[in-house]
């Protein structure tokens, strides 16, 4: 099945490049040069995902997104040159599902598109079992001892799995590396706290699309680690 992706950017070259990448993945693409065109196409076509630039003439991305959210909950990934935190927060608050800052890595973009489509189309209303914990795209099934991201299984070492389980059981709570070590290794961490940091890094590399900008497993610098969405 091919999915319809709407690419909305006023820069033609970027639109063409995105088309090439996405069509190589087997998606059908539609192009719009501004927010108004994008809304028109959304109205006409059955679109499964929108890539939306923020700074555009006629109607900018944030206004278009606000309009779009009035009638559709199609996944929207913001493309933005602005990298300030406030801009990201604004975009996410208005209703975006993800954002990519320009200049973006094409591979990363492809991964994010895949992730959003999977979640939107396959994991919409999965039955929640007792032993299953989900945070964002990350799902941990304690029964089968498996972890998946956007439905794709991920293989973890037992320590990594234990750390992830502990974090996911307490979303938002900041764990001191020493506490993590005590609970996972079951021994006193005589100067071995940096081991925890190494495991966290590995975990991030396996779960996150962009490990340098993690969405889930976050370091609270000088305090510890936590898991949270956004």
């Amino acid at each position: 099945m091919s999915y319809n992706i709407l690419i909305c950017d006023d820069e033609k070259d970027i639109v063409s490049a995105l088309k090439i990448y996405l069509e190589a993945e087997g998606y059908r693409t539609f192009a719009a040069a501004n927010g108004r065109e994008a809304l028109a196409i959304l109205d006409r076509e059955d679109i499964h995902l929108v890539l939306l630039d923020i700074m555009m003439p006629v109607m900018d991305g944030v206004s278009a997104l606000a309009k779009l959210r009035e009638f559709s909950n199609v996944p929207v990934i913001l493309l933005t040159a602005k990298s300030e935190d406030t801009d990201k927060v604004l975009g996410l608050n208005v209703g975006a599902d993800d954002y990519v800052t320009k200049p973006f890595n094409p591979v990363e973009l492809q991964a994010r598109v895949r992730s959003q489509l999977r979640r939107y189309l396959h994991l919409g209303g999965g039955a929640v079992r007792e032993s299953v914990i989900s945070i964002g795209a990350v799902t941990l099934d304690d029964g089968s001892k498996t972890v998946s991201v956007d439905g794709e299984p991920v293989s973890l070492t037992p320590r990594e799995y234990e750390i992830l389980k502990l974090l996911m059981q307490n979303p938002g709570r900041v764990f001191h590396p020493r506490d993590l070590y005590r609970k996972v290794w079951n021994e006193e961490p005589y100067g071995a706290e940096s081991t925890v940091a190494v495991h966290i890094r590995h975990l991030r590399e396996k779960l996150e699309i962009d490990p340098a900008n993690p969405r889930y497993i976050k370091a609270v610098w000088g305090q510890g680690y936590k898991i949270s969405e956004k």
Binding site: E11, D13, I14, A17, L18, I20, Y21, M55, A81, K82, S83, K102, P103, F104, N105, P106, H176, P177, E193, S194, T195, V196, A197, V198, H199, I200, R201, A219, V220, W221, G222, Q223, G224
Partner: protein, 679 residues
Amino acid sequence: MKKLYGSFAAKLIAVILLCVLALGFTLSFIGTVQVYGGNVFSSGYQSFLYRMVGNKAEGMINEIGWSITRGTKPENASHYSGLQIRVLDGRGQELYSDFEGAEIILEITRSFSPDYSLYSVGENEYEFSDGETTVAPRPTFAPATPTPSAASDMPATEEPEETEEVWVVSLLPSGETQQFPSEGEARDWLRQHEITVTGYVLAEQPEQSAFETQIYQAQLLYSWRHDFLWCAILCFLLGILVFIFLLCAAGHRKGTEKIVPSYVEKIPFDVFTLLIIAAIAIFMTPILAGFDWPEILFALIPCILLIGLSFLLWCLSFAVRVKLGTLWSGCLLVRFFRWLRRGVTAVFRNLPILWKWGLGLAAAAFIDLIFRMNAVWSQNRTAFFWLLFWLLIAGVTLYAVLAFRRLRLGAKEIASGNMNYSIDEKNLVLDFNDHAHDLNHIRDGLNEAVEQRMKSERFRTELITNVSHDIKTPLTSIVNYVDLLQKEEPKTEKQQEYLEVLSRQSAKLKKLIEDLIEASKASTGNLSVDLQPCDLSILLDQTAGEYGEKLENAGLELVLQKPETPVTVQADGRHLWRVFDNLLNNIVKYAMPGTRVYLSLQEQAGEARVTFRNISREPLNLSAQELTERFVQGDASRHSDGNGLGLAIAMSLMKLQKGDLEIEVDGDLFKVSLRFPKG
């Protein structure tokens, strides 16, 4: 009315009218005083007539009285028609009378004593009837020869007695002489020789009588008495009106709304006033010199008119000056004092402050000296003034101290960066005021400079951010198409090589732009900083975990040195991580492979310190300061990765978190210390 103000003719008429009114007022006022002076309404016409007629009648009676005492027979004395007389002697016996008991308007009685001389032999003092007393040479009586000198011109000294006094009276015209043993008896005898003359002015005067004119005048004036009063009041009120009109009109000219000064106003007011006073004084002299009727009419009226006109001139000039507002400034004296004050102030102001205080102190010392010297001579009186003087000195000193305090506080506020603080210049004088003014000026200048700088910083940040955003869009295309090209097959080896360069350089450009934005934001403080407790020892562990592998790949060995106890500081974790990230990135790039990298944490008095130490691969030929300056890299490292912004960003971020970053270069040892203040 406004038109009349400007008309010269109207003013001239008003002046003449005023003169006439003044004259009318003066005359009617004199008339009123004449008539009313006798209090006509209470004692009536009789009293007034008495004053009008009495003078003349009295003169006549005197003339008659005197001529009788000098020996004229009463019946031969002068007679006047309309006046009848009765003469009595000292004993009350009638000597003569032609009074027939007719109706009279006036009765005047006068007594006359004859000319006499009275003296006592013992006292040798003479008294004459005119009251004159003279001391005569004492008659010499020789005890051996008691015979008096025949040449004695004192007829009363026939019987000189040593012990008994003899009073001698002689009446002059007749030469009748009497002797008495005492003065009282002599005076009694004299009184018997007095005569009393009573004059009666008849009510019905005969034709051609001596009192005809007086009675006529009296009747006339009396019948006019109300007219005089009304005339005086009318003249006075009208005069006031005309005077007010002149005051209002003064200074107005035809064809202009403005007040025009005349030549008179060119004269300074005080000089002008003196001139007017002098003029009035000159015109007063003839009045004071005194004139008899009727010359007085010819002297008095012009004089009074001239005095009045002078006074009017003064009043009008006064009015014009008040309207012009030059009354005080026009005074020579005021001008002089102002000039003097300005001069003194200018001299005093321009004196150097040292001279000012020196002179002030010298003056104070001098006054004090005078008081002390004075105190030697007099006691209590000066002590009070001395106290006052010292209170004054204390007041001045206190004022100076308070003023200085105000300046000091203001300067302190401004120095500490309170740019809204304004030093109150009120109540400050001389140098204090100048100083306050200067300080406020400095504050304004600083304010402006700071604002200017903030503005330019903000502008720069915005420029960098906006330009960077605009660069990002084309860069996105470059990155994407380079990537697409790399996927195109087949490629020659060279194509492959070139594409790799493009890919590497575009990635570098991307990093550069991101760093640039961050650097500009961090250096202008355009980032939100959320200071929270942060355990540095945890951060070191986290860093080791993140960077362990990278360092190993670069052939570096990380050595962590930290205390067992947590070291908590106030910091923003994200920014702090960015600092660590940048520093370790630099170490990975520039450290000599095969060496150790020391990352140590110490807690010292009042601060926590994290030190990064590594051995540089290339010789470091730049100073520590140059290294932190943006875009500066070791020359030898120019060709390698990195853009030199890392250190600058780290420095700015540390400053934002109230910490500090220090760089030390010692040969190839490169050392960065992060300092966090504690508590």
